[in-house]
């Protein structure tokens, strides 16, 4: 599904990703871990198409197409979803209105009829249950005045509404209490199918107790320096990153 080869990316002339390789197949869950500043969020941003990041080398092939050539909206329409680390507050735009626009733009791109008001509401009600989100919250301006947990839940709600093929969760677990974490994780688990894939960018092993990854990768200094299964995450939790750093510099 996703094939990242030798990816180099820079921001403001500073190289952050330095030859990153990653293969994600449909149905898989990948966790990307690593110390602060290793390039985790840069990877998520580059995949979503943030223009301030410059890709200096390498390629990203997504379902046979060159992902880096696509605009952010076309990436979304092709089925990529980024759950933001810091979801933006947009005053004056309700979540409902925003999502209706988004869902129907994606459908239009795929040659599907737009959902009418009733169909949209039905789908919304169904997905609201999934992430335990309140109607009142969705009528309010997007993320405005939401708590941290509400913002993250709203991200997962959007994920549920847009039904992407590849979901990238950028530190969605950071700053969540255990109840909020459970809700978010449950949402992701319920949305999992054999046809979609999830990339979890996280700082904490705790999330992986709830969303069990098939693969765990350690990102360090802009490259994936170690890959393994969920046991690797436990090892990292226990021993920290120093042993990895030593391995790399050895």
């Amino acid at each position: 599904m996703l094939s990242i080869r030798n990816l180099h990316a820079a921001i403001d002339g500073k190289e952050i990703l330095k030859g990153l390789n990653l293969e994600v197949k449909a149905g898989e869950i990948h966790a990307i871990m690593g110390p602060n500043g290793s390039g985790k969020s840069t990877l998520a941003s580059v995949l979503a198409g943030r223009e301030e990041y410059e890709v200096t080398d390498g390629e990203v092939i997504y379902n046979g197409t060159d992902l880096l050539e696509l605009s952010p909206e076309d990436r979304a329409r092709e089925g990529i979803f980024l759950a933001f680390q810091y979801p933006v507050e947009i005053p004056g735009v309700s979540t409902t209105n925003f999502l209706k626009t988004a869902v129907n733009e994606v459908r239009k791109y795929r040659g599907q009829e737009p959902l009418d008001a009733v169909q949209f509401l039905t789908r919304m009600k169904e997905k609201m249950k999934l992430v335990n989100i309140d109607q009142a919250l969705l009528s309010r301006s997007l993320n405005e005045g939401f708590s941290g947990g509400e913002k993250k839940r709203n991200e997962i709600f959007q994920l549920a509404m847009l039904e992407p093929k590849l979901a990238i969760l950028d530190e969605t677990d950071s700053g969540l209490d255990i109840d909020a974490l459970r809700i978010v994780a449950e949402g992701v688990n319920k949305l999992r199918t054999r046809d979609n894939a999830v990339v979890l960018v996280t700082h904490y092993q705790r999330l992986l107790d709830y969303i069990v990854p098939d693969f765990v990768h350690v990102l360090y200094k802009g490259r994936i320096v170690k890959s393994g299964t969920k046991e690797l995450a436990l090892q990292l939790e226990e021993k920290g990153y120093d042993w990895i750093k030593e391995e790399v510099s050895a």
Binding site: G49, P72, A76, F81, I90, V93
Partner: protein, 448 residues
């Protein structure tokens, strides 16, 4: 209809002076009920001595009238210049349903195109030139007493020369159930036209009413509307006032709306400018009584070469009043905007709460906005604040929307609608809100 003289091309002012002589003689000769009052004579003297402003005048620093004033206007022919029919009027109307409609073409009342639906107990309407006979007290007390013709040359010109416009009186304790829509059409299909409507709305004690002024220009010639509206809210009255400008690229507008508030009264004004060549809106509110509320909302959504200048003044002269001002603008193309908001809190006006906000989004490198808040506070126990920002659309917000599959154009439109929504949400009349929303939505989706 334009008479272009090959000899001396008289300038704007001397032409108007000549016209005034004719106007005066006409008034003396025919048996029309209008006679020039001492007040009009006085206004004329002020017009004669006041200078037409240039950008050297502080209040006109960013609004250059040179192009407007060098046009060849024929003042005499405004009435004859139009035979606007009901069918031709139709596209200029909002879908307001059952409402009071007053139509003025080139400043002159068109009874045939107007329609009053409210009962006479709620609503009295006269052409301003004929109102003195029946409403002597109100006219003598308020007409040209609220808007100052001694200092403002355009108000002086309007006061001296115009005896057409709406005089509206809402009797005490009456709630006008249906709003009054006033359409001021400048018909420039046959030549350059100046129209100078003059309005006075008087709301009696405990009364309530809503007024919508819509300014439109028809035709390709140059139109110049110089309008003055005076609004008086007597004790405990509630007035809601809308001014909507959706004009042609050749339309010029200089307007003064002057409100005088009595004790415990509430005045809310919403000024929406959507297109035109040059628009200058003066909105002056004098709060000379206690416990008043004033709301000033403004929205300008501009493109092309439109220039819009909003000058507002809230003059708090007495204690315990509240004013809140919110003006927002979106500027595209080569459009330019001016916001000059003055809040005056006089020494007696203790316990005043006065707030002002002006926010602008400039979409194009060729568009520009000049904003100037002015607070002059002479009382010590008050709460006042002001804030002004001018910037671009927020890139983070734009990216967030795009990352959910919303195209750049639609994402921008969504953000602009949200930005404008702060003002639009205050429009309580649905037909007005729908009208404005339609105009700007079409614009966002075609030009963004």
């Amino acid at each position: 209809m334009t008479t272009t003289s090959t000899m001396d091309k008289a300038d704007f002012k001397s032409k108007l002076l000549t016209h005034f002589d004719t106007f005066q003689r006409g008034a003396a000769q025919d048996n029309s009920p209008r006679t020039l009052s001492a007040l009009q004579q006085d206004a004329f003297q002020h017009f004669r001595t006041l200078d037409l402003p240039t950008t050297r005048h502080e209040e006109w620093k960013y609004t250059n009238l040179r192009n407007l004033l060098q046009n060849d206007f024929s003042f005499a022919t405004a009435r004859e210049a139009s035979a606007l029919s009901a069918a031709e009027l139709a596209p200029h109307l909002m879908e307001h349903g059952d409402a009071n409609v007053l139509v003025f073409v080139n400043g002159f009342y068109r009874r045939d195109l107007s329609n009053l639906v409210s009962p006479v107990e709620e609503l009295h309407v006269e052409n301003i030139g004929q109102a003195r006979e029946k409403y002597t007290e109100a006219i003598d007390k308020y007409f040209a007493r609220v808007a100052d013709y001694q200092k403002d040359v355009f108000t002086a010109m309007n006061t001296a020369i115009s005896d057409n416009g709406a005089f509206i009186f809402v009797p005490a304790n009456k709630v006008l159930q249906k709003p009054v829509y006033l359409y001021f059409i400048t018909d420039a299909t046959r030549g350059n036209v100046v129209s100078q409507p003059r309005n006075l709305y008087v709301l009696g004690r405990n009364s309530q009413a809503t007024f919508v002024e819509s300014f439109r220009t028809a035709g390709e010639y140059i139109g110049f509307t110089n309008v003055v509206t005076e609004v008086v809210t007597q004790e405990n009255a509630v007035a809601e006032y809308y001014k909507i400008q959706n004009e042609t690229a050749n339309a010029h507008h200089i307007g003064t709306t002057q409100a005088l508030q009595g004790r415990d009264s509430k005045f809310s004004s919403t000024t929406i400018s959507l297109s035109g060549s040059l628009i200058r809106n003066n909105l002056n509110i004098v709060i000379d009584a206690e416990n008043c509320e004033s709301n000033l909302y403004g929205l300008y959504v501009l493109n092309g070469k439109t220039h819009v200048d909003n000058h507002t003044l809230v003059d708090h002269a007495r204690p315990h009043s509240y004013s809140n001002e919110l003006y927002k603008g979106i500027l595209d193309g080569k459009s330019t905007g001016v916001f000059n908001g003055k809040i005056m809190v006089r020494p007696d006006a203790q316990k005043t709460n006065a707030f002002q906000t002006n926010r602008n989004i400039v979409l194009s490198p060729e568009a520009a906005m000049n904003t100037k808040p002015q607070l002059e506070i002479f009382a010590d126990d008050v709460k006042c604040s002001h804030g002004a920002t001018t910037g671009q659309l927020d890139e983070e917000m734009l990216f967030y929307l795009r990352s959910r599959g919303i195209g750049q154009k639609a994402a921008k439109a969504l953000l602009m609608q949200a930005f404008a929504g702060d003002v639009l949400n205050h429009i309580r009349l649905e037909p007005v809100r729908n009208y404005v929303e339609n105009v700007i939505q079409n614009r966002f989706h075609t030009n963004a």
